[in-house]
């Protein structure tokens, strides 16, 4: 914890490292090169994500929602009529761009490798649970960071829950929790999900009447399609290079005292704060935040569920999109679980709204903790 505070208070060092990296890069040698190169990519990714989020919001995306993996998958699921919540139906090009951007870079760097078979059905269920937690809080960990960057103090409560959930997850990992090995798979397996999302994107443009489109609410707020898609491609590619993950930063700091990914976490928040101050959209408060509610307990528990579930999955929702783009079919199944989970949340009244959480949602979050505990108990390997 002390280490955390030390890092938080020393963010200016970050900029110094940034300059240092470029210097090291020019020399191309040096013992610490690998470490710093990683920091460079992670921080660059964080800055680009933060800046793009502010840009996308200025161009029409919902407030503090330049990106939100959970919300955008939910919107896309709604557009495909997997649920019928009229205010959240829109095919989000950001999601599709991120998967394809990651796939393109992975193919170029010869890291595209179809593999899977690491407890797919269990992953699917954990994904549904993570989605229930995210829609209780109203955002994935990335949107939580963007909300903090917009001055939404409810998201700070969410962050505390998130860190708590990750901590619980790391205890399970240390206790031998594993979803077992993945194995090499066919090319068809690896490209199936990327192909499916491209098909959705093409159809949504060519035959828009196939889909449902929100006329009001968050689903009706969006940046121009082309810009959203290009930003998605760019961010997806960068995340593939840097292995950016909102969970890994905290998890690795706790488990291995490895703070490299935490720089990216901080870079997103700092960039968003600066960006929002420039565009005049920084408002420090609990009340009246865009697409958010003020129920502290359930914001905390929702994100705790997301943190714990994401550690079990080996990465946050954003990271799952990127891995799916790299041909990881377990992550593709996880992303499919997010889609189904989003539909379940809205079909059964589990998702919160600006008015607050629902009773069904509270029951589902508690059930989610039970499900994760059972999965944890049944998937331990003794050393």
């Amino acid at each position: 914890m002390l280490e955390y505070i030390r890092i938080l208070s020393n963010f200016q060092v970050c900029l110094a490292i940034y300059k240092d990296v470029r210097f090291e890069k020019m020399k191309g040698i040096g013992k610490t090169y690998m470490l710093k190169k990683r920091n460079f990519w992670v921080i660059l990714t964080g800055v680009v994500i933060g800046a793009s989020a502010v840009l996308l919001t200025a161009l029409g995306n919902p407030g503090n929602m330049g990106f939100c993996i959970a919300c955008f998958i939910r919107d896309t699921a709604g557009a495909a009529k997997l649920h019928t919540a009229a205010v959240v139906q829109y095919v989000r090009p950001e999601i599709i761009g991120m998967i394809i951007g990651a796939m393109a870079i992975a193919m170029l760097s010869r890291e595209f490798k179809p593999r899977g078979g690491s407890s797919p059905m269990t992953r699917f269920i954990i994904a549904v649970v993570v989605m229930i937690g995210a829609l209780m809080f109203l955002g994935c960990p990335l949107r939580m960071m963007l909300r903090i960057g917009g001055g939404d103090l409810n998201a700070v409560v969410g962050l505390v829950g998130f860190i708590g959930g990750i901590f619980v997850g790391t205890l399970w990992l240390k206790g031998g929790f594993t979803l077992k090995r993945a194995y090499s798979q066919s090319l068809t397996e690896g490209v199936a999900l990327p192909f499916a999302v491209v098909l959705i994107m093409v159809l949504s443009i060519a035959v828009p009447t196939l889909f449902a489109w929100s006329e009001s609410g968050p689903g009706a707020a969006h940046a121009p399609v082309a810009i959203a898609l290009i930003v998605g491609l760019l961010v997806g590619g960068l995340c593939q290079r840097s292995r950016f993950c909102t969970v890994a930063g905290n998890r690795d700091a706790m488990m291995f005292k490895d703070f490299s990914m935490l720089w990216g976490f901080l870079a997103v928040i700092v960039t968003t704060i600066v960006g929002n101050l420039i565009t005049g959209s920084f408002h420090l408060s609990f009340a009246d935040q865009p697409v958010a509610h003020t129920d502290g307990l359930w914001n905390f528990l929702g994100m705790a569920l997301v943190g714990w579930g994401s550690v079990m999955l080996g990465g946050c929702p954003l990271r799952q999109l990127i891995l799916a783009g790299e041909g990881n079919t377990d992550s593709a199944i996880t992303v499919t679980g997010f889609f189904v989970g989003a539909a379940i949340c809205h079909n059964f009244g589990l998702a919160s709204s600006g008015a607050g959480p629902t009773t069904n949602g509270m029951i589902a979050v508690v059930a989610g903790f039970v499900v994760l505990t059972v999965i944890g108990l049944l998937n331990r390997e003794r050393a």
């Binding site: 490798k113 593999r115 690491s118 990992l173 690795d252 490895d258 990465g315």
Partner: protein, 69 residues
């Protein structure tokens, strides 16, 4: 020689296994991984714990030889 097979495992599991393997500070441990991200993570972890890392690749699988400095 001690060998840890972390092939097919998603991070951070390869690092957890590497962490367990070097607990008694052995002179040499080999870690097998099959993803670039896992290779980077194990390498970074081992270096931070005072190990030299030598990696060799075969058919997309990496063998990381950790030697105590």
């Amino acid at each position: 020689m001690n060998t840890v097979d972390a092939r097919g495992l998603l991070c951070p599991e390869p690092v957890v296994l590497a962490q367990k393997a070097i607990k008694g500070a052995p002179a040499e441990v080999t870690v097998l991984v099959d993803a670039v991200a896992a290779k980077e993570n194990v390498t970074r972890f081992a270096k931070s714990r005072g190990y030299e890392v030598e990696s060799s690749e075969e058919n997309g699988e990496y063998s990381l030889k950790l030697t105590k400095k």
